[in-house]
Amino acid sequence: MNQDATPNQQRAISDMVQGLLEDRIDRREFVSRALILGLSATSIGAILAACAGGSSSNNGTSGTYDPKKYAGTQLHILMTGDENDHRALGDQLSQLKAETGIDLVITAPSLTPLINKTLENLKASKSDFELVEYLGFLTTQQVGGGYYEKLNPYLNDPAETPPDYDFNDLIKANLNNVGYYDLAAKKLGNGATDLYGIPGLHSGSVIYFYRKDLFAAAGLQPAKTWDEFKAAAVKLNTKDVAGASFVGANDFSLATVDWYTRFITTGGKLMLGSPTTKDFKPNLTSPEAVGALQMLVDLLPYAPKNVTQYGFSQNVDGFSTGKIAQMIFWSTIAGPVFNPNTSKVADKTGTTPVPAGPGQKSSAILGGWGVGIPKNADPAKKKAAWRALTWITSKKFNMYEEEKYQIDASRNSAFNDPSLVSKFPYLPNAGTADSSAHVIETSIIDEFFELNAIMNVEFNKALIGGQSAAAACATTQSQWEAVLRKGGHLA
């Protein structure tokens, strides 16, 4: 130990060692804190070696991984019923039981009931669920609320984590979106080392879908810029096929997919300042903000007649039935679009990264989910829950989801698997989009959905002719500021 340490430092070091022994902190965190306190590498190594035998996480284990260690345990997972995740997991429950002996029971309501049921559980004295799937946009609300178990000790324990789990295969952007969180600094992602969730059961971002046949016939290349996108829309628009489409309805994806993608790829920055310094101010009256909405307004003559009522399903149906020449959309729709049983254009569809403004990089919003273990889950079942969690976020399960349902994976290996890519050529584009996607700035505060709803209402109003793009952005700006002030994020 450091000979020159002050009494406070000595107390801190002693607490740290105790924390390591009691599993309150993991080895990685111990090293970081020890370095901050000025311990030498030799001292750290010696302490770790001394603690290795005494750490409670290793108590009762031989240090080797036993896949059936928790056989006979029944677990419950609360997850989304809006996507295909619960179907994929439902298919594989018997396999999970065969390999681990764990019985997993699925509860899968749709999004709004899921959020409310999740919050009820997290705030209860004991959670009914040992595993909970949460939307990436809610990581701050749920993980930041301190409701989830820190997963580092489980991950770092070779007796608990399968040897082939390959944590580093999980896409970093997804880990930063739903996994890492610094509770003390209230900071999501980059820089944080405490792990509270594993990306799954699906992740994903936005890519560009276009009709290869129509573009080839017109002598066009897939759009790389928004000007090319509009030019293609003008040229390809006919009575039967709309030149382009987008989410024009008062729908979650109007703001997050169509507007936000155009906004950030033309140099827009959504928020200035930070909630912690109470200067978290929207930047919605900027030329990029108004310009992104104006792009959508300008596309109206070349879009489906009722595009202002088009949400997710209308666009998927429109594209799959050959009535739309191009659009940007969540890559997760590749499933129905590339399935010859549900799509008339399965063999005529191409994908690329989304277009961008001059000099800008292609990028879009990062979607996806995380799965965590509630702190208030039955303590006797937490290790079994981790076992199940590693199974449902394994390479094998990611590949199954991708192959059977074209659910966007959370692992690099699934996006780049040669056999999958040969079947689903869009996968590398989807993987690239996922890796380079943007965590929307407003998701770091609780009011994310409220802000998004305001934006969708005002932008939809602009699209139906109720106000100009500039007025819509100005109204949204003032409403956002009011919400942010009320929430204490803006002084």
């Binding site: 009522q309 139906i464 109720g466």
Partner: protein, 309 residues
């Protein structure tokens, strides 16, 4: 009437069991009801009142006491006033139209034409359907791309209507669907009353030379007034609370033109997890409803002599 029944029951208990037996009887009879009310009405009401005075949100474990801040926020929120206006418009027009149509239907079926009993049964079907189903069903029927309504309109050479996508038509469409569903309710109440009207009054009017229109104006409608008033009050309360239809049909849009108070409250509570604010808004709605119902009851003045046959 009720008072008489209670008195009779009380005296019998007193005769059978004495004073202590009477108390036991009272407890036995009222106990379950009181317990039910405490558990399912009084406690939730008090709990939500407490909630309305806190700033409880999705991520906070327990809300802090903020006094009347939520109520102040509600009354300074332009969305609240917008939704209140929409609710007033929706309730007023929907109830008025349903009353006129329901009464007209009742009078028509009062003629007892051949086969009317079958048609009567069919007419009541909409009110048997769950409102959320009605909303989703009509959203599909009115779909601008493949909905059967615009298809039928197109077949007769008329232009397609943007039922739910335009700020000009969306609220009208909401009222139309609400009227479609609940006119049968008014019809059933008014028709039941119509069937029980004394024939002698109409015979006397005929003898006095009153023609059909005069009978309707001066005899039938006044005698139906209590039933129409009852239907108006029940329908008014129901329309004011209507949330599921809006949720299924228009989700409050476009541009919030169909956002009613109930829907706004749902959004605040369940979409945005502002539980304290939502509880306060629910309380404001209860107060509005109590005041409106009291005023309505005073206005319609269901007089005893009207109700006597």
């Amino acid at each position: 009437m009720n008072g008489t029944l209670i008195e009779r029951g009380s005296s019998r208990s007193s005769w059978a069991f004495g004073p202590s037996g009477r108390h036991r009887d009272t407890l036995l009879l009222l106990g379950p009801c009181v317990a039910y009310l405490i558990v399912f009405s009084v406690f939730p009401l008090l709990y939500s009142l407490r909630l309305s005075l806190t700033n409880l949100t999705g991520s906070s474990t327990s809300g802090q006491f903020v006094g009347l801040e939520n109520y102040r926020d509600i009354f300074t929120d332009p969305h609240f006033w917008g939704a209140a206006g929409t609710t007033a418009l929706m309730v007023g027009s929907s109830v008025a139209i349903a009353l006129v149509l329901g009464t007209a239907l009742a009078l028509f079926f009062g003629l007892n034409l051949r086969g009317s009993s079958i048609v009567r049964a069919v007419i009541t079907v909409p009110m048997l359907i769950t409102p959320i189903v009605v909303g989703v069903m009509w959203r599909a029927l009115l779909n601008p791309d493949w909905g059967i309504v615009n298809w039928a309109i197109g077949r007769v050479g008329l232009p397609a209507i943007n039922w739910l996508g335009s700020t000009d038509t969306a609220l009208k469409t909401l009222v139309m669907v609400d009227v479609w569903q609940w006119t049968p309710f008014v019809f059933v109440i008014v028709f039941a009353r119509l069937q029980s009207l004394p024939v002698e009054i109409f015979e006397a009017a005929q003898v006095d030379g009153a023609h059909r229109l005069a009978q309707l104006r001066w005899i039938t409608l006044p005698l139906l007034a209590p039933a129409i008033a009852l239907a108006a009050i029940i329908r008014g309360i129901d329309a004011f609370r209507s949330f599921d239809l809006v949720y299924g049909l228009s989700y409050g849009g476009p541009a919030r033109v169909t956002t009613t108070l109930s829907f706004l409250d749902y959004q605040s509570g369940f979409d945005f997890q502002r539980y304290g604010f939502a509880a306060a808004m629910a309380y404001v709605m209860v107060v509005i409803l109590v005041i409106a119902t009291t005023v309505l009851l005073r206005l319609v003045q269901v007089r005893r002599e009207d109700a006597v046959q």
